[in-house]
Amino acid sequence: MIKGNFIDNLPKVYGIYTGGFLAFIIIMSIAEQMGMTAKTIGICFVAFTVAIYAIIGYLSRTAQADAYYVAGRQVPTVFNGMATAADWMSGASFVAMAGGIYFKGYGYMALLVGWTGGYVLVASLLAPYLRKFGCYTVPDFIGTRYGGNLTRFLAVVVLTVASFTYVTAQINATGTIASVALDIPFQYAVYVGLVSILLCSMLGGMRGVTWTQVAQYIVLIIAYLLPVFWISNKMGAGFFPHFMLADEVARIGELEQQFGFIKNSAADLANVPKGLAGITKAHSAVNASPWAFISLALAMMMGTASLPHVMMRYFTTPSVKAARKSVGWSLFFIFLLYSSAPMLATLSKLSLIDPSLPTGIIGKSIAEVQAIDWYQNWNQANLMFVSDFNGNGTLELNEFFMGGKAVVLATPEIAGLPYVISGLVAAGGMAAAMSTADGLILAIANAISHDVYYKIIDPKAETAKRLVVARVLLVVIGFAGATIAAMEIQGILGSVIWAFDFAMSGLFFPLVLGVWWKRANREGAIAGMALGLISGAGYLIWVRTGGSGFLGITQLTFGIFGSAVSLVAMVVVSLITSEPSAATQRMVDEVRVPSGKSILGKQH
């Protein structure tokens, strides 16, 4: 069926794969009609998709350093775009984003702008130049450009702090989904998730992760878009929701006016289960100050350009030119999901609060709502709650509470879609969380194995030994992440946003100035990374322990402070110390020319 080179056959291979997945969905829906239970369908979806990823991971096994670290630098632009999109869109994007928009409206949508606008910075400031450099990892660039083991080591520290904060959230998400779909306790499900993640990356490194991420993107985008379109059509809101929901958005505004946002007393709220929230913010009105919106968007944009697991995806393209185009494709594939999240939030909210719709529950009697099947299911799952605070027997807007995840997970069921869609959504969430976790664990393990072990500790190590070290680290870091995830310390979204702030505090300016400012030197980079990370982390701790903060910088945007300190420190220290050597300056000139040999050799 498939002849010749794998790379040449990619469209065919993934075309067959997509067809096979659609056929699987149809088979499952037939099985549902024939009486297969919801639980079995959920297990089938998760088990089938994870098995496919594991097979791809096995087929991509390699013993070559450049295949392991940068997938042999032969990933075509469009496929690298899909892989990056899967790498990028985490369990949080998939499960929690629509929920955030549902509850917080405009103020939250700064994340949509931030998590897309950052790619403009990636494409114009960094990706093509780092690709030309020919590095395996982000610290590889810092270490070679500025020279010295200390710079390399500090870059590894920043990378590890940021990526590790992020990865625990992702393993947590795979655990949550695996525990629901396979019906096992969360403490074990976390390790089931971890094993699935390692199956993709252990044998093939970046090559294995690349081809599984493409497969995961296909699953997650189908799992996100299909329900949105289906629900929109079923509600009669329009066959193409993105262009047709203006009336629904306006209707939500009217209902908000009619119901009003009534503030609940603290005593009433004490009865609401932890993690659930009511609708307290306007849906489409501007409900945040310009600075609150812009500072959050800016922090996410600069964080995007500093996160190593994203940057390293552009090391895998065949050329500098391809790296630039590939950033565009990445953002296009991300755009498909991100532009759908507000539509899902709109459909979900309207179907619940509009009394003129059959699914609307506001204005019904409390007893009636409590008798609805889906309400009982999601109430049991601890994602929905109603309480008659004012004792009038009728459900008011301020008496209805929901978990953020419920918008994605429960809306298909509320709208009356078959259970097969819920199974599909579980597989999509699993794909989103797994692909991001894989990218992150690989980024950390590669940085430690390549930059700390090979470049600093044992520069004479043979390839085979280096790859063994890399794989051992992969497992160790995975287990460390899973162990922390099993403790359930913080929510999914909070830790994701912190990762962006950590990355931008320590890495944004050392990376950008490394390309764009020839005068930047080793001392400056050391000061920029160390002081940036320390001041950012210090600010976070200060605000978390009751500090008031300043300039409206919150615990979600502390990277703005950290990166400002990093910039000042880097410029001042660079200027008061001697300029970089002639060889380094020539190297920077060389990086700025897209053609010709890369700075670092093919195998290094």
């Binding site: 075509p76 632009t77 405009y106 949508m109 700064a110 949509l112 702008v113 931030g114 897309t116 606008g117 790619y119 403009v120 910075l121 494409a123 114009s124 400031l125 093509p128 993105h242 262009f243 047709m244 929901l245 203006a246 009336d247 958005v249 306006a250 489409s284 009105a285 501007v286 310009p290 919106f293 812009i294 968007a297 800016l298 944009m301 065949p318 050329s319 500098v320 030119k321 391809a322 630039r324 185009k325 950033v327 565009g328 953002l331 296009f332 755009f335 991100y338 532009s339 507000p342 539509m343 000139d589 700025r592 020319v593 897209p594 053609s595 010709g596």
Partner: protein, 86 residues
């Protein structure tokens, strides 16, 4: 001026234009979010709301492809383009 320096000057010019457009869609319009939301935007959505859902996001996608093409032209002009495929 050497060929390389000229190439870099043009690349830097393109970067500044790209960042200026990026600034408008990521920061500029949200300075006037409340005022602009009174206006009806594409497909009937409130204008600022539309930008946060679709407008700015789409503009970034187009901007990156535009930037990549312009940079390729600059590279070709100075003979720095790479042979081969994408």
């Amino acid at each position: 001026m050497s060929k390389q320096a000229q190439h870099w000057e043009k690349s830097r010019g393109l970067l500044l234009i790209t960042l200026a457009i990026w600034f408008v869609f990521s920061i500029g319009i949200f300075l006037f979010g409340a005022e602009m939301n009174e206006v009806t935007g594409p497909f009937g959505y409130p204008l600022t709301y539309w930008f946060t859902c679709q407008g700015s996001l789409g503009a970034f996608v187009i901007l990156i492809f535009w930037f990549a093409n312009r940079q390729e032209k600059i590279d070709e002009e100075f003979g720095f383009s790479e042979r081969g495929d994408d």
